[in-house]
């Protein structure tokens, strides 16, 4: 990818700028589509029809929303810490956008082909916590601060199951670089890590229950990491108004939303890359290649985005103690068992 651009443009700085901006080119239209998808899916799950007047079946509604948010007055509370208040949404978005750097969108494109890929993602997405805390603190509003504190507690506790379930996949694939992880799973859906990876059949069958469990746990912990229902305690409309983004309006609010949807895809992308073969075609050589790879990656990612929306509109919000119970007493012990079992199977 970079070599091709380098040949075309001949300027390495420009090439890196373009390479860094490419995920944004994907995230912006994706966010518009997902906002609409979320509204439509939620409406149809509740036997409604959602937007019907802006364009055919309301397809232009996200654009209308953006235009409305653009022209909205950008208010900052008088008692807010203005610098932090202004900085917070960008920091939150930066945290999730930086995560996209190590995501392999196709065999030809990965923002940064570093060997510490997943580790980097886990580390850099924690930056969002600082942004959220900053937003909650700077708002100078008790609900915002509550939301921010909850968010910090939640993300810190769910880092553990996330990291451990990533570790299970990393143990099988033997690499932290998501591009290598994806290459490892090439050659059809039976080679995906969720089905035990491309290992001998007996090993595969032995691994299968543990990879399935850790796959589910990664998905659950991922939902919790991005603060989506049923783990949306930081936002908890009914208790905390909107949590850390209560005081935000206009484009700052829109950027929080963009960050949320970017995070939703990031979680899906990590799950897909680690456990479901990333950009590899599920049918082996059939429909594979860089362009098809991008298609498969986005298709799998969008399926998990849909799953997250589906779960959001099915399950009610957890209580704080239930949230912590789930993380520390259920997900983490299960993952320890998975790690030991996978390690044992791989070594023996």
């Amino acid at each position: 990818m970079y070599e091709l651009l380098q040949q075309l443009l001949g300027d390495s700085i420009l090439v890196y700028v373009i390479g860094a901006a490419l995920p944004l080119l994907f995230i912006l239209p994706y966010a518009l589509v997902t906002v609409l998808l979320e509204m439509k899916v939620s409406a149809h799950m509740q036997d409604r029809v959602a937007y019907m007047y802006t364009g055919w079946h309301g397809v232009l509604q996200p654009v209308a929303d953006i235009v409305k948010l653009l022209q909205k007055e950008d208010t900052i509370p008088g008692v807010a810490d203005k610098t932090l208040f202004r900085l917070a949404p960008y920091l939150v978005f930066m945290g999730s956008y930086a995560g996209f750097a190590a995501i392999p969108f196709s065999s030809a494109y990965i923002g940064s082909d570093i060997d510490l890929g997943v580790f980097y993602i886990v580390a850099i997405t924690s930056l969002a916590v600082i942004g959220i805390l900053m937003a909650g603190w700077a708002s100078n509003n008790k609900w915002s601060l509550f939301g921010a504190m909850r968010s910090a507690a939640q993300i810190v506790s769910y880092e553990i199951p996330t990291a451990l379930s990533i570790l299970v996949a990393v143990m099988i694939t033997g690499s932290l670089n998501l591009q290598d992880v994806t290459h490892f799973q090439d050659g059809g859906f039976w080679n995906w890590v969720v089905f035990g990876g491309p290992l001998p059949l007996t090993q595969k069958l032995l691994l299968l229950p543990f990879t399935l469990v850790s796959f589910f746990i990664l998905f659950i912990a991922g939902i919790a990491e991005v603060n989506r229902t049923p783990f949306d305690l930081p936002e908890a409309e009914s208790e905390l108004v909107q949590g850390y983004n209560t005081e935000y309006s206009g484009m700052k609010f829109a950027i929080f939303y963009l960050a949320e949807y970017a995070n939703v895809f990031l979680v899906s992308a990590i799950v897909v890359s680690l456990y479901l073969g990333g950009w590899t075609s599920p049918f082996g050589e059939f429909m594979s290649g860089p362009i098809w790879g991008f298609f498969w990656f986005v298709a799998k990612g969008m399926f998990f985005v849909f799953m997250q929306i589906w779960i959001r509109w099915t399950l009610p919000r957890l209580r704080v103690d239930q949230l912590m119970y789930t993380s520390w007493k259920v997900l983490t012990p299960f993952l320890f068992v998975c790690i030991f079992a996978v390690g044992f199977i791989l070594v023996v």
Binding site: V41, A43, D47, I311, W313, T314, L315, V330
Partner: protein, 200 residues
Amino acid sequence: MTEVRQYFGNVWMAIYTAMVGMRRTFRHLFTPAVTIQYPDVKLKLPERARNRLYVNIDDCIGCDQCAMACPVDCITIETIKSTPDQDLGTTSTGQKKRLHVPKFDIDIAKCCYCGLCVYPCPTECIMMTDVYEFSEFDRKNLIYHYSRMTPEEIDVAKEKLKKAEEEAAAKKAAAAAAAKAAPPKQEGTSSQQPDSTKPS
């Protein structure tokens, strides 16, 4: 041991109930919507729905019973008696109209849609309709004027009544004077005189 069983039971229960819920929502994803596209499609209201009041002023005899029945005093009626030479016609129920109704105002903003004004109306001219979309930008526009009399007509009616009353008063005075002149004899005529001034 029971604690261990309960722990795994809880985990299983959490997964199972989530699956049940997700199956239910997935099924609803494909059920047709139960809502309607409101401004384009409207539900038919029940036959006896109480919404905006309507007054068929042609049938109104100005009896003021609806205004008296109204618990929030949102109906204001003014009437002018008609003189014997005027024929105001009859209502559709066959009653003779005896009063001009220069003012029949309903402040629909005050109306509580109780429908109590509908029942006393002798000619069934005030009724509840199924119209419910009548929001206005100005509150004053919510005062509905049902009377169709123009100011000129009102003036004419008032003038006529005044004249008739003056004539009657003059007659009465004359009769009284005559009665004073010859007290016992003309009792019958004097008792008839006020009747003639009444709009009959």
